[in-house]
């Protein structure tokens, strides 16, 4: 079976940002933005990474590409049946590998250089990796524009002449320019209008089917993630609290935080009944996280043990990982139980 090794395997990834104090910039502590995160991505699948602002999901995405330097951990990328640990490479050695992993950004307004034409923007990565030049380069850019649904006649226009959805298509074309295997999409639709969101989600799915892309899809919208992801990972204050196949996670959450997140999503129609679990307080400060389980001060099921002991990240059922002392005992409610659709 060829499925043996995943495309990407991340192990014990950590990113600590130092907090500097005083005149001598003495390090007074660390913000543990990402604290011991492990997961893998099979080729051609989409892993959704969800969490609230400040949970560290964007930092994970950037660390995976070494766009920012992780503090510790392993990032193994499989290319042509050879596995390379990206963390073991010097930045220079990393360069040729970069074309295999690209990023799509949230804000299509600030992520495109206003002084570059569409041609410049999309061709830049191709030039950097010396993959084509001259007429071949232009043909390739035109082809990419067609692939993402942009009209080729706009080749020499500047980003300001495009709408939000079209700009996001330019960003996607640029990410695809080097034929990558892995794409980290950081909130790619959250800045777009509802009717445009669906277009971009459909485009991402089409591209995945056509080119066998693998997505790490970072988002906060649980409806969008349910739609696009095969598996979903939930982050809270720098740590993964749960990871499972999408349907399983939404139907049978095994971490109280996931349950609360699912219940907080607004209802999809007026007659739907929803039992809302209102969380106390706010997301913990990663510079001074609480003891034990980071979620315990807000958790409705917390016990003494949660205050003292950090729960282990473990497989609670095949393919379903969670980090809660009581994952096995708690009867948490999934989407089907929280919401009662109206009788038709």
């Amino acid at each position: 079976m060829p499925e043996a090794t995943p495309l990407l395997r991340v192990e014990h990834l950590k990113k600590y940002f130092p907090i500097e104090k005083g005149f001598l910039r003495r390090v007074a502590g660390h913000v543990k933005a990402v604290d011991d995160v492990s997961f893998f991505l099979d080729e051609g699948e989409t892993l959704g990474l969800v969490g609230e602002s400040g949970s560290g999901k964007t930092t994970v995405g950037r660390c995976v590409l070494r766009a920012i330097e992780p503090t510790e951990g392993k990032i193994e990328l499989r290319l042509d049946d050879r596995t390379t640990d990206l963390m073991a490479l010097e930045r220079k050695e990393l360069r040729p590998l970069r074309r295999n992993a690209q990023m799509i950004f949230q804000d299509p307004y600030s992520s495109l250089d206003p002084r570059m034409t569409v041609l410049d923007i999309i061709s830049e990565p191709i030039k950097v990796h010396r993959m084509a030049s001259g007429a071949e380069l232009e043909d390739r850019v035109k082809h990419l524009m067609e692939v993402v649904g942009l009209e080729v006649k706009y080749l020499r226009r500047y980003p300001h002449a495009f709408s939000g959805g079209q700009r996001q298509r330019i960003g996607i074309a640029r990410a695809l320019a080097t034929n990558p295997k892995l794409i980290v999409a950081d909130e790619p639709v959250s800045a777009l209008d509802v009717s445009i969101q669906a277009q971009i989600l459909n485009l991402l799915q089409d591209l995945q089917n056509e080119f066998g892309l693998t997505y790490l899809f970072i988002a906060h919208d649980l409806g969008v993630v349910e739609h696009i992801a095969n598996r979903v990972a939930v982050m809270y204050v720098g740590r993964l609290v749960e990871l499972a196949p999408t349907e399983e996670l939404y139907a049978n959450p095994r971490h109280p935080y996931t349950e609360a997140l699912l219940s907080a999503v607004p209802k999809t129609e007026p007659d739907e009944e929803r039992e809302r679990i209102v969380l106390k307080g706010e997301i913990a400060n990663p510079a001074h996280p609480p003891s034990g389980c980071y979620f315990h001060p807000r958790c409705n099921y917390a016990q003494d043990r949660c205050r003292e002991e950090t729960p282990l990240w473990r497989e609670v059922s095949p393919g379903h990982f969670a980090a809660c002392h009581f994952s096995e005992e708690l009867e948490l409610r999934g989407v089907g139980e929280i919401t009662t659709p109206p009788a038709t």
């Binding site: 009717s195 989600l201 906060h220 409806g223 939404y250 999809t268 739907e272």
Partner: protein, 340 residues
């Protein structure tokens, strides 16, 4: 005064009547018709949602009601009638900086915004900012104002109000800032609260808290709420009535049930289908092709005609359909449903 008249019989239950309002921006490039024929009414203690995408004119509608349309925008025609117990004021007739609108703004009609950080002053404490409105509209006694401020802060769920009252906006989290802004808006017992995307910048768990809070306060204060949002979930959650806006016009208007279960306008129908719904997984979303046009010198036609799959040649692109009541309290602006 011209702008004040007797309250009529049917207006007793209605708080705000918006009738065919048009707000245009005269730019060098042409006339931007941001709001081009918007009508709706809000009953006492009722919640109306305006849903629309960026550029639909939903925020300019709110600005027109508050009379804070930025230059060079101007209300060209229409009426915005605010019904008091004994009289009715047409807000469009007031001077935007005059004493009448200033006695209404903040007192009868209050507004909260999407990003509290940009609408709160960074150099004044929370307490100072809330007190300012109270001293202006409610009382001149500083002690009493102080007491009201503390009471408001605790009512919006800010713990330890005695300490928070002396803090600056940057010391609070996003959810707490939004609570502080709600406290400020409600401190003068407004009859109408306009909430312009109040939860868009917040996380889902905080969004749920804020929506719940506004609902509770609405009952306590007996006020009406106008929600402006692009999020169908928020609409389903809190609204009694919905106005769907597209390109400066209300294209459909009815009860929240009518809009969700019997949508008539092709835009509403397609918008509902394009949203991924949690718990109803589809293989593929039904996207609306094309982009939202910019209403700069728009041609006289239905705004949705270019993206509509049901557009009728010779009709939809030559005239603007009227907003017609096709069912009881269910209005739609489409030739598929009316001749006008």
């Amino acid at each position: 005064m011209v702008q004040t008249r007797e309250t009529t019989e049917e207006a007793v239950k209605t708080l705000l009547d918006v009738r065919d309002v048009r707000t245009y921006f005269h730019l060098d490039e042409g006339v931007l018709k941001a709001v081009d024929g918007v009508s709706f009414d809000i009953g006492k203690q009722e919640t109306l949602g305006i849903i629309g995408e960026s550029g639909s004119g939903k925020s300019v509608t709110a600005q027109s009601i508050m009379r804070i349309v930025p230059k060079p925008g101007r209300i060209r025609s229409g009426e915005i009638l605010l019904h008091h117990d004994d009289r009715t004021t047409d807000l469009t007739q007031l001077k935007p900086f005059g004493p009448e609108i200033r006695s209404i703004r903040g007192k009868d009609i209050a507004m909260i915004f999407q990003e509290p950080m940009t609408s709160l002053s960074p150099v004044h404490t929370i307490g100072n900012q809330i007190r300012e409105a109270i001293l202006l509209h409610r009382t001149e006694d500083r002690k009493e104002a102080e007491a009201i401020t503390l009471d408001m802060l605790s009512r919006v769920g800010i713990s330890n109000p005695k300490q928070r009252v002396n803090e600056y906006p940057h010391q609070l989290s996003g959810g707490m800032r939004q609570r502080a802004m709600i406290a400020m808006a409600l401190s003068c017992n407004p009859k109408l609260l306009i909430a312009d995307e109040p939860t868009t910048a917040l996380d889902v768990t905080v969004q749920a808290q804020i929506l719940e809070l506004i609902k509770e306060l609405q009952e306590q204060f007996h006020m009406s709420v106008l929600y402006i949002t692009h999020d169908l979930g928020v609409i389903a959650e809190v609204c009694d009535k919905v106005a769907v806006m597209y390109l400066g016009r209300v294209v459909e208007y009815g009860s929240v049930r009518d809009i969700f279960y019997h949508p008539l306008h092709p835009y509403t129908v397609r918008l509902l289908k394009s949203m991924p719904k949690m718990g109803h997984k589809q293989d593929r979303l039904e996207a609306i092709e094309g982009n939202v046009p910019i209403p700069l010198d728009p041609p006289v036609q239905c705004g949705f005609v270019e993206r509509c799959t049901e557009a009728m040649a010779g009709r939809c692109e030559v005239a603007v359909p009227a907003l017609v009541e096709v069912d009881k309290q269910h209005w739609v602006r489409c030739y598929l449903h009316s001749e006008e």
